[in-house]
Symmetry: C2
Subunit: 347 residues, 2 copies
């Protein structure tokens, strides 16, 4: 099989944990969270550019966000921006993109990735993804990227590797584990065979199609019923009718936990899901008192603070300890870092 690499970027999240930086109208993946002048979606595209050309990059997002994607990625073909009429979790999202790709690109070897993660070492990232692509191009296998854990994180799902039967860097997956409690997370870290689930995985189009047909046949049927409309003017109306009826289920529950050929590559390229303020804080450069900022912030007698101030000219913060400070588009939040899980209740 002469593989042709494709990339499906999932960009439909609403990023409610980063309010007010992220809002349902303009969520996290479209924001310059790290202060480098590029949104997380743009950085994701940049990171994959050497692996997959833009004309084979597909962005699946909510219909409401299509104009933002078009504006942020002007080089992407319009037909590669797939508009979900409703949020149905990741299985329908990936299946829809897969069904579209299959019609025109029966040789596709596909990377699926979220749009809003951070990677420090792009070169190592590309090397790892390249290994995964080589493995899946001619096998009925799924290779999911596993991040070597550096702390007993309770905010991520884990991948348990099998201890025997490695093929080069590729390992078989023994099981997927939900977000653990602190004690379990510590045990995982010590055991050495658990990896963070980065939600990035690679499979070829045949594996994708067969997996959907086998494990979530209702989703396959729903898409088969409208597949004739794809790439025509009827696609939008057909999708609007059919998509909201597809089962709301994640790709992990739908496929990963059932497929016999799940593999992983332990990777170490400085990854973060940027899932909360603490994770942003940990990857930004901090001053001697542990303060980090994106934006024109002056810290006076502050310590342990993380500030992200969009559209500001000058910000002075004095006498704050361990606080999150964020403003964006007329909204402002200041709270203790220890209380960040309550942000969703306040916005």
């Amino acid at each position: 099989m002469a593989a042709e690499t494709h990339l499906i970027i999932m960009a439909g999240g609403i990023g409610s944990r980063f309010w007010p930086l992220s809002t349902p109208e303009y969520p996290k993946q479209f924001i310059d969270v790290t202060g480098r002048g590029r949104s997380l979606l743009q950085m994701t595209c940049d990171r994959f550019a050497a692996l997959c050309p833009i004309e084979r990059t597909w962005v699946v997002t909510n219909a409401a966000y299509v104009p933002i994607v078009r504006q942020q990625l002007p080089q992407i073909p319009d037909e590669n921006i797939l508009a979900e009429p409703a949020a149905r979790n990741t299985a329908p999202c990936i299946a829809y993109a897969g069904w579209k790709i299959r019609q025109k690109h029966p040789e596709a070897n596909i990377i699926v990735a979220p749009s809003d993660a951070y990677v420090r070492d792009d070169a190592e990232f590309r090397r790892i993804i390249g290994e995964a692509l080589s493995y899946t191009c001619d096998r009925n296998a799924i290779v999911t990227i596993g991040i070597t854990p550096t702390r007993p994180e309770t905010g991520y799902g884990y991948i348990q590797m099998e201890t025997a039967g490695a093929e080069g860097e590729i390992r078989k997956v023994a099981s997927f584990r939900e977000k653990p409690d602190k004690e379990t997370a510590r045990a995982y870290l010590e055991a050495g065979c658990y990896l963070w689930n980065a939600g990035i995985f690679v499979w070829n189009i045949k594996t994708l199609e067969e997996s959907i047909r086998s494990y979530v046949p209702d989703i396959a049927e729903g898409l088969d019923a409208i597949a004739q409309s794809f790439y025509t003017k009827k696609e939008g109306p057909a999708l609007a009718e059919a998509f909201p009826k597809l089962r709301k289920i994640s790709i992990d529950y739908a496929v990963m936990e059932h497929h016999p050929g799940i593999h992983t590559i332990p990777a170490d390229f400085g990854w973060s899901d940027l899932g909360n303020w603490a994770s942003l804080h940990s990857l930004l450069e901090s001053d001697a008192e542990g303060n980090a900022a994106v934006g024109p912030v002056r810290f006076v007698e502050c310590s342990g603070c993380i500030a992200h101030v969009q559209g500001t000219e000058k910000v002075v913060l004095q006498g704050l300890q361990d606080c999150i400070i964020s403003c964006s588009g007329g909204r402002m939040l200041i709270c203790r870092k220890s209380e960040e899980q309550r942000i969703r209740d306040w916005n």
Copy 2:
């Protein structure tokens, strides 16, 4: 003398203690500091409206602020907005306005007032000013308004009344006192014959002219030299040449401390100079935890905070104690209330 009431509002301050709410480009007097939908200047005009018609109201301000005054007080005649080419403190400011008024209104009885103070009881305020106007209309006297102190305030100058020789509510002034230290302020409060100097005073045009001629003759001469240009096209250029050369001196040092006919009326109309964040906090309504806000602020586990957030849609503050929180025009400040005297150093 058939008195005709005039009002001189001094609106040239730059309000550096209220940064970022107040900036040199748009200082405090032009801002809706109290959240009632009117700027301090507008509220000052409103307060005097029943005492003095708008066509006899004069606003002296920095040339740079003339467009703001015009926009905020559209009903005021253009020629009543006096543009200072430079800031020379209050004596040149008042003398210039007096010299202009004298040419057209030789019967004027004049109130001089700052543009940025707060008054709770407007009716009592008008009654007191009315008393002062009655006293000065036919006397060579200056009546300055003295506020009955309610706390040992160290941020205000004080007026010492003479204990004997009252004429109705009018009392002779024994002396003016600079801002005291805490101990002295306590002694003033106990003594009962000290009042806060509100910087509001009343005199007739003859007293004004003679005082300037007697005590700061150089200022009188400077204005005499350009008086022929007043109300003509030559006024602007003449003033631009002459005004910056006038002595930089306050009306207190120039006149008040020398004039033999200084009187005061002890008044109690809920006055504040709104000179700092603490004074704003004290006049706003606070919640049960002592938090007060102007703007759409939600306090969560905060206490003793004062927030003023301009142009915001939603602000959530959690876990802050005794802080000032302000944002305006892309600038933001958060600091401990105890440190507010340092705000000038940060902006």
